[in-house]
Amino acid sequence: MRVQKFKLGRIIILLVVFLASVVGVSEAFVFTNPLGLYSTTIWDQWVYQAHHSTSELIVFYGEGDFDLLYFESLGTVSDDSVDSWAERSIRLYGEPGGLKSFQLETPLSKVDVAGQRGLGAAYTYEDERGTRLWECRIFVLLPEHQGFSIALSSDEPWVVDDPRLLDDILGYWRWLF
C-alpha cells in the first residue's frame, strides 16, 4: 500500500513537472518604468535593452531574432479620442511613407489596460530585407491626452495566435500616476 502511494506521489510530481514544461510556466520579473508611469511583469526570456531605450521608449528583445517588445510614451496627442488616434495611426502605417506591404490582420478592438480604455490591432508588414513581420499594437490615451502604446512583434505569427505573453503583461499592468 505504501509502495503504491509512493509510486502515485512520484507520478503526480513527474506529471506536474511535465505539464509545467509543456505549458511553459515562466519565471518573470517586475519592470517599473523609470519615470514612474507604469509597472508590469515580463517573462525572463525578454531582455531589457538599455542602449535602445530612453525615458519615453522602453525596449525588450525576446529569444527569437525578430522578437521585440516596446512601450512608448508619445506626449500630447490632439485627436479627440483613442479611436480617432488609433484609426489615424493605422491609416498612416498603410499609406505611402508608412510600412511596406502593410496589411491589417486583426481590426481595432477594445482592450482594457489596467482600467484605461485602449484599442488593439494586429498587422503585418515587410522590413527592409523583405522579412514579413507580425505586430500587435495597443493604443491608450492617458489623462491629459497623453498617448501611450504597447507593441509586440516577431517574424512568426505567434504574436497574434498565442496571446499568453501579452495577456500576462496586460494582466499585471499597473498605472502609477
Binding site: 535602445h52 496627442v77 488616434w85 505611402p96 511613407g97 508588414y125 522590413d127 512583434s153
Partner: protein, 464 residues
Amino acid sequence: MKIIRFHRWLGRSITVLLLFVLLSASVQAAALGERFERTLGGSAVPEILKQYGGEYILPIGQRMWVGEVFRRLAEVTERGDVEYTLTVLNSSELNAFALPGGYVFITRGLVSAIGRDEAKLAGVLGHEIAHIEKKHGVNAVLRQMGLAVLLEVGVMALDLASADLLRVASATLLQLISLGWGREAEYEADLVGQALAVNAGFDGVGAVTLLDDLFAMNSEDLPMKIFRTHPDTKNRRERLEKALASFWSSPVVVEDEDVVERLNVGRNSKQTRRNDPNGRYSVLVPEEGAGLHVFDLQTGQSRTWLQDVNVFDFAWSTQGEYIAVLVDEGSQGQLWIGDRWGGEKKSLSISGQTIIDMCWSPKGDQLAILVDGSEGRQVMVTYLHANILLPVGGEFTGTGSLWLDTGLYFVYEDKWYHTSAPKVLPVIVQNPVPQVLQRQRVLSPTVIKEGNTIRLTRPALTLP
C-alpha cells in the same frame, strides 16, 4: 467769405478723396500682388515636380519632424498673406529652393544629408522662406522681363494673372530657378532666414554648419546645384557667423545680492572640481612638469595626457563626455578639447591672443572663453562641433566666467554681468503616431588578445 470757405472745404475734400483712392488702390494692388505671386509660383510647380522626379513621401516619423520644423518657421514669418507649403522632391541631388507665393521645395537627398539636425534643417528652410518673404523670386522675374518699373510703383498694380504675360513670366521663373535670384538676394535670404530660425526657437548656428558640411562634401562628382545657384560660400559663412553674436542679449550687471553670492560660490567651487561627472577619472595638473595626470578609478591605472604641454586649467563637460584643457604653448594660451579617452576633438588658438579662462555651457556643446590680447580682454563663445568664435561680451571685458541654465555670467571690474543666447526649443511633433521599431542586428565583435590588452574589432574599442 463764403467762396473762400467753399474753396477750403473743396480743397480738403479733394485731398481726403485722393488719399482714399490712393489707399484703396494700394490695398487692391497688394491683394493683386499676392494673387499674382501665388499664380506665378503655382504655374511652375508641375514643371519642378517633373524635373525632380515628383513628390517624395518621407517615412511617417521623419515627415512629421520635418513638417514641425517647417510649421514653426512659417509661424514666425512677417507676411501674413502667404500660405507656405513644403514639398519634398524625389531627387538625390542636394538642393532646396522656393517659388513665389509660398512654395518651398527640398530634395530627399538634402533631407537625408541633414539627418536629424533640426538647426541645419531650419537653416536651409529659413533661407528659402526668406526668399518668399522678401519677394526675391517675383522681383527677379519682373526685372528679367524688363518690367522693373512695376517694382517701383508697387509691382502688382496690374492683374497679370489673367494676361498672356503669365506664361512668359512662368518660363522666366523656371529659367531663373537654376541661376538663382542674384547675389544680394542670397545674402539677404541667409540673414533673414537665420533670424527666422532663431525666432522659431532653433540654433542659428545650423545655417553655418550646413554650409560647412556642403563645403566639405563639394566635389566635382557631386551634383551640387546648390553651389551653382548660390554665391561664394566662404563669404556667406563669414556673414552668418558674424550675425550669430547679434542674437545674444546685451550684457547687464547682476544686481541681485543673492545671485552674486551664489555666483561667487560657484566660481570658487569650479576651481576644485577635479573628477569627471561619471566618476571614473580623477584628473590632476601636476605642480611640476607638463601634462595632465589622469587616474582611472575603475582600473586603478594612471596615465598622462598632453605629455609635453604645460597645462594650467581644465574642465569636464557637464555629461563628462569631453574635457577642455587650457595649455600654454609657446607662451600662448590655447584651448584643447579631448574626448573622455584622451583623443583630440578640437584645438583652438587665436592669433596674437591668449585664452586665459573657459567654462562649458550647461548642455556641454559650447564653451565660453576669455581671450587676452593687445586690444584687451574679450568674452567669446565657441562651439564644440563647429569652428565658430562669437564675441558675446559686448563692450565689456571679463576676468572669469560661469555658464548656468539662466545664461552666461562673467566678472568685469568686480561686478558680475549676465548675457544669454536665444532660447533653443526641442522639436516636439504636434500630433504623433507610435513609431514602429525593428530589432537592430547585433554585430558580435572579434576579441583579439594582445599581451595585457584586449582589442575588439567591432566596435573599434581598446580595453586595457
